[in-house]
Symmetry: D2
Subunit: 476 residues, 4 copies
């Protein structure tokens, strides 16, 4: 059964044009003027006056994450459903094997949890330590399992943090394999001591969370990670960048010719650290790392400018909700508040409203940041990340004429808080198509647990793809 | 009569994918898997194993330019034909009314010359002075004539150079009109004096041309032009950038959030100033302004890095050939050598070979730089600059498997020199489609004088295009 | 008759130490522990608990300046007396011949006015145009008259502004002569047009003065002046720098190895543009160019940091007072308000209070900025600018224990306003010695019209002074 | 018995002037014109045509250092004698207690070795680990022992390297105490792995030493150390900076207002990595860390420019010689070559010749870099570091008219190699006065073992020294 989307304005990372779109068997088959239905049962969506976006790719989510003594509130079913309702049809989660355990064991467990997904998924493989087997395990992860990106944490000392020697090894092996290394860049040693000092002084509330993680420690670690990548010719991707110092470190690297990437998230663009002062422990809902930054220090501007100038490449969400009940684990000690919040469902409307409508970047750039670039960087492209013949039929019909507000009351995440509560938004998805099937239509979610597929990914070396494929050849 | 291009790998600024393409009545009508001919007479091109690019847009050419006492060697027919054979199907020429003459008079004359074009064309309107009528003339140029970009020269003192007061006025009025200001950025006062001193010393050969225009005067003028634009919120586009100092000035502006653009040309990427030392006055063939820069000062790297990092946006050619006979006007005085060289036909193959195949940027970025970005910046998009439903059927089928070398012996320009003589190239256009008609096929040029159309252009304010058009609405 | 200063803490650009100091015949003759009077009539100043500074050098003053249709309120007698009472014992004024008149004629007139000075003086020679005689006139100014620095104005279009060609010529000839070029760096073309527009709109009050001269036009001109100097290997000294953009341009030049200097003034460090909003035309008292800058844009921090980091070299005053009556010439048009204010008498106390006591720089750095560096840069050193054997006995005994406030009621300038009115200050000069004679003691000024001497100056090329002089050789 | 130095040109960090100088009881007592002998036995040095410098302070030496399984070749007697013959009269050595041992034990042992010194000495206290006692031990080192600077090594993993947590603690406690933290900034984790890989590949020769320590690891660590200092408001002093990346990190910190310092050494200015290719293991003589850098990468220029612009503050030597016999410990493994070379004796002549005579900085700047700044930064000033009344009579009479070459054949170090072998030098000390006594005269060294004194040092907070001392008060 095919699907015909008529007269929408198709938007890709480069283009916007009005056309009809025909999809079947989960693929985009034709784009043209005045396309016809091919079968009698073909569904038709009239999209005149609406945008048709490629399904968004979220390069940074944590579903069912066991972390800080609890498990994040959205399992893969709930989290991907929340994503679909917000226009995100592909996620890149994280497989984080405990320090000292084999990567492939971790992967098996992660896959067991992930198979409940309603939309397609993959993961970055976290490296949380280094031993004699790790290099070979990394090779198998890439070559046997199609997971072509890794993650290292330079923070969370005593848990999943790697030291500089381990960081070196990961970068070296990743470079050899052609894999991308995603990096949580904060100086974990400094943070651990700042936390100890604050707690020792009795500064235990959530408002001390940002005090324990100043922007300078993020800037420093970003600079260090980029040096380690440069040393080996590895491709680094700095996740959830929040501050001026980090953006400047990335700018220095990019302008000197280094091949590297930066990601930020809507919360770092739109919120400031006044949220931590909310009464009744509500500030805990905003506790995540790196922390939301102070206004008036240039951080927010640096991020917006980075998105517009091309210095930042990607916008993820770091979706990782915990209920307020879970957050209470840190009632007497902010270091014990589970870090994270929901966001996968809010991203598209926030970027459209505060990015595009405010004139900070255009529609094509929004699609590049939230769909095409994540897909290309992480080897999902052209299957994901665009609207093109042969690509997966993941599509969002977006009506720019409606308006509303984000709220925990209406979102589909299991989180009982929405950190963007009350944020006005312009436009909304009217239809979300996943693998050719309409799974969200006019407010109604029609997803199916387990419909999502694990995506194997290719190694990408974007700059050397000079050879065209013969007709019929597999997508790279 | 339609045209079906089968199984090529379509490349846009964002995408590459294999599909069939159907065009008719000069427009792209359908893109899809397994498209059929619609009419019996439809032409078919088998493009398996080949790329299909949107026709290139050259944002910087001078056909039939009266300059320095002579006229550039390619008229519009020859120049656009040379372009078509090299994959360029749209040109932005310059209308340069003499100082003190009405802009619209100049436009009429320019149009008279331009109507011989074999491919579509438009122009930037040069402002070479300022009087009480100029602001109103600028308004009419934009609003009545669809010419939405201007040009100022900060060099060529005593001829077409504007002073800072004039530059100020142009930027101010352009900002009001939403027009782009393209800028030749060199400090003309300094150059005029450096020239005088060299000639007075008897340093009259072409090897003194670069000495008279050091990179620092380009860097300075770039910084100045960008300040003038910032002062008024105007959009500046710096043409033919050649050096590190200029790129750094643009980087500073962009990273601080200014909306501005930079262009370079293949000759500044691929040649160095050793060319001026060629014997028998052959160095004169390379005389253009700004000059080709010394190796080993970081200029070439700065340009390549700028193209990859997004700091530079566009690659033009400054196509403006003069024969060696014409060049001899400056035999005894390099300041009298007509400035310029051919390049429109060489651009695509050079960028593919030395940009893409050398891994400096990918295919999509090449198309962005040489087609999509010029089209978008100058209001030709989406009619030009991409392969999308409704866009003009300007297409290049490019066979990456062949190889050759650039040479004056085989090029179609009337220039008797090719500044890239002997440069090895990979790939070549096999077919070039202009407005739906195959005008170049397997080495044979089948163009028709006057087939080209004058393109009226819209004012673009890229960052605020948030409103989707209803179906059927005119392209913006 | 000698003078013995006992037990003061002597401060130079490098050192601070307690010693006695003996001077006679206008020179410092001995520094030591337990020095004795040499003659019975020798005067003695007990300076225990006080500082002894070298007399300050003000590199930037305008006495009796004919400007904007009037004459600045302090003639050389009043102005230098005001300086002496504030610890400044040497001034560098400006000789500004009208455009088109011979430099040497101007110099004669300037000397006639200057000979009323109570302290030693010299001037920078302004070049306000260029003709066939100017290069030779510059040579004579330097070689015959011992005036080894020039001044160019990149602002004041239509009056004393030079264009880029003239700037080029001045830099070139100054480089040849080894002279320093001091530069008023603002883009005068832009300012002239901004002024016209404001006046045309009826925005005529003093609060529009800063609007007509935004910081970006200063940053641009600074960058341009430095490029012109670099082109010829000339030494540029940017006067009265006020803003972040200008400091950044200077930083770029210095860090890339260029030999250049920057000056700022207390008003740019301590005042912000709220002063222009004072009622009853009192804002006019603060009208000077470049204007005092807005708070909260980083300008003040950039200047303070530049002074501490070594990027700025010198602090002058641009002393050029006009009475409020004179200011009223611009009652209906801010462009007609005579530009300038008093400052020569305030500098030392302000720098001590807001620079040293606030911990922004140390005592030695203060002396470097306000005395030694101006003396060295302009060829007055070691005669002026330090306390060393053989140097002129220009000395300030400064008591840090007292406190007070700056005020027009108590200052010695003829200006009826003090732009630092009410500013609290720590410390005050108790004695000021000029050429070995105590001319200010405990509040009483004992100066003598005409006691000041015209100082001929040597060409300095600081970096190549590697050769020691034989004993008895003249100071360089 | 006093000493009169007649008619020399005295040079300080700020001044140069011709005067007589009288010293007695180890102090400078008088500076003046035509001073007389005070006692019949007073010695007289005629210094006309010569310079008189303050004795140089070497902020970075290692005498009798137990390191890498051996002991550096110069004990304190030999090393300080070598220093005196080269114009250095004060050293700051390093006390490096093994990891896990009490600082004060280490200090006792260090003092036992150091008391053989022929000139005055002090040390930086190295912190090579952190435990519950370290903060208190640091306090005692500063407050009870007058050692007001610390040293941390970010390299030498597994030996004396500190990790980021330890670095944090040292910076925090040093900030509390007002002490300076000197930092060896290289990423030790990366280096350890690079070394392992090279050795494993059989790349064991000294030419692989620089390969194992690329400049990027130094730049990174410099950036990290400065961040750690900024976090606590500590004063960091980066020792032996060698490369562009490190200078740029320091520039960023300084221009943003951070209070920090940078040091380099003559070998990094004057040698390039071609030295490692010398045959017969002679390259080992040049093995030190960080390594001598490649030519043509901008490192040498960055250092020279930093010295001239004020971004670098100090020039030490890292004097730490090992004989070629000792170097042979690393014959089969470059990581076992004892790191270090002689340099204390060469510094003054090299800086005079290649810094001052080449026009890279002036005489006063040379004295600032090699004497005054080290003295001020480390709390030895004004007792050391200048020629002023009350300062120690450490003086160098330098004859600029002679010329020669540096050589192991003539130097006084026990090292059998001189890394500047054959370097031409201009000028030489004719007399070196230590504490008022002539200890080197016309080539003859007359030093006395144990004559040197341990110098206790004050905490300096240069920027807040606003209060003058009363007469007779102790030097700060």
């Amino acid at each position: 059964m095919g699907l015909l989307i008529r007269s929408g304005e198709i938007v890709t990372a480069a283009d916007r044009y009005i056309a009809d779109l025909y999809v079947d068997e989960g693929k985009v088959l034709a784009i043209g003027a005045n396309l016809e239905k091919r079968g009698a049962k073909d569904e038709v969506i009239e999209a005149s006056g609406k945008f048709v976006f490629p399904g968004l790719v979220d390069p940074h989510v944590h579903m069912a994450l066991g972390f800080m003594g609890t498990v994040s509130a959205d399992d893969f079913e709930a989290g991907t459903a929340s994503g679909v309702s917000g226009g995100t049809t592909t996620i890149v989660d994280f497989c984080i094997p405990p320090r000292g355990t084999p990567l492939l064991n971790g992967l098996e467990e992660w896959k067991a949890r992930a198979k409940r997904s309603v939309a397609d998924y993959t993961c970055h493989m976290a490296i949380t330590g280094w031993n004699d087997h790790t290099a070979e395990e990394m090779r198998r992860v890439v070559e046997d399992h199609g997971i072509t990106s890794f993650k290292v944490f330079m923070a969370y000392k005593g848990a999943i943090m790697v030291d500089d020697g381990e960081l070196y090894q990961v970068m070296k092996q990743a470079a050899k394999l052609g894999a991308v290394v995603t990096v949580h860049a904060e100086n974990g040693d400094a943070i651990a001591l700042l936390q100890q000092e604050l707690i020792a002084k009795g500064d235990t509330g959530p408002e001390y969370h940002p005090v324990s993680r100043p922007s300078s420690v993020e800037g420093e670690a970003t600079n260090r990670a980029l040096m380690m990548a440069r040393l080996h010719g590895a491709t680094a991707y700095i996740v959830h960048m929040t501050c001026r110092e980090a953006v400047e470190a990335l700018e220095r690297a990019k302008l000197s010719g280094q091949h590297c990437y930066g990601e930020t998230c809507p919360q770092y663009l739109l919120l400031d650290d006044s949220v931590f002062a909310k009464p009744d422990f509500e500030g805990a809902a905003y506790v995540m790392s790196p922390p939301i930054r102070p206004a008036h220090q240039g951080h927010h501007d640096a991020l917006w400018r980075g998105l517009a100038s091309g210095m930042l490449d990607s916008i993820g969400t770091d979706h990782c909700p915990f209920t307020i009940e879970q957050k209470r684990m840190g009632k007497d000690d902010f270091t014990k508040i589970p870090n994270g919040a929901a966001g996968i469902e809010d991203r598209l409307q926030l970027l459209y409203t505060y990015g595009v409508c405010e004139g900070r970047f255009d529609l094509q750039r929004m699609i590049a940041l939230a769909s095409t670039n994540p897909a290309r960087i992480f080897g999902l492209y052209p299957r994901k990340g665009t609207i093109a013949i042969g690509s997966d039929a993941d599509l969002v019909v977006y009506d720019p004429a409606v308006s509303g507000a984000r709220s925990a009351k209406t979102h589909h995440s299991k989180s009982d808080r929405n950190i963007f509560e009350g944020f006005k938004v312009r436009g909304a998805p009217t239809h979300v198509v996943v693998n050719g099937r309409v799974q969200y239509a006019n407010g109604a979610l029609k997803v199916e647990r387990g419909a999502g597929r694990f995506l194997t990914r290719a190694v990408t070396r974007a700059r050397s793809e000079a050879t065209p494929r013969p007709a019929g050849a597999a997508l790279p």
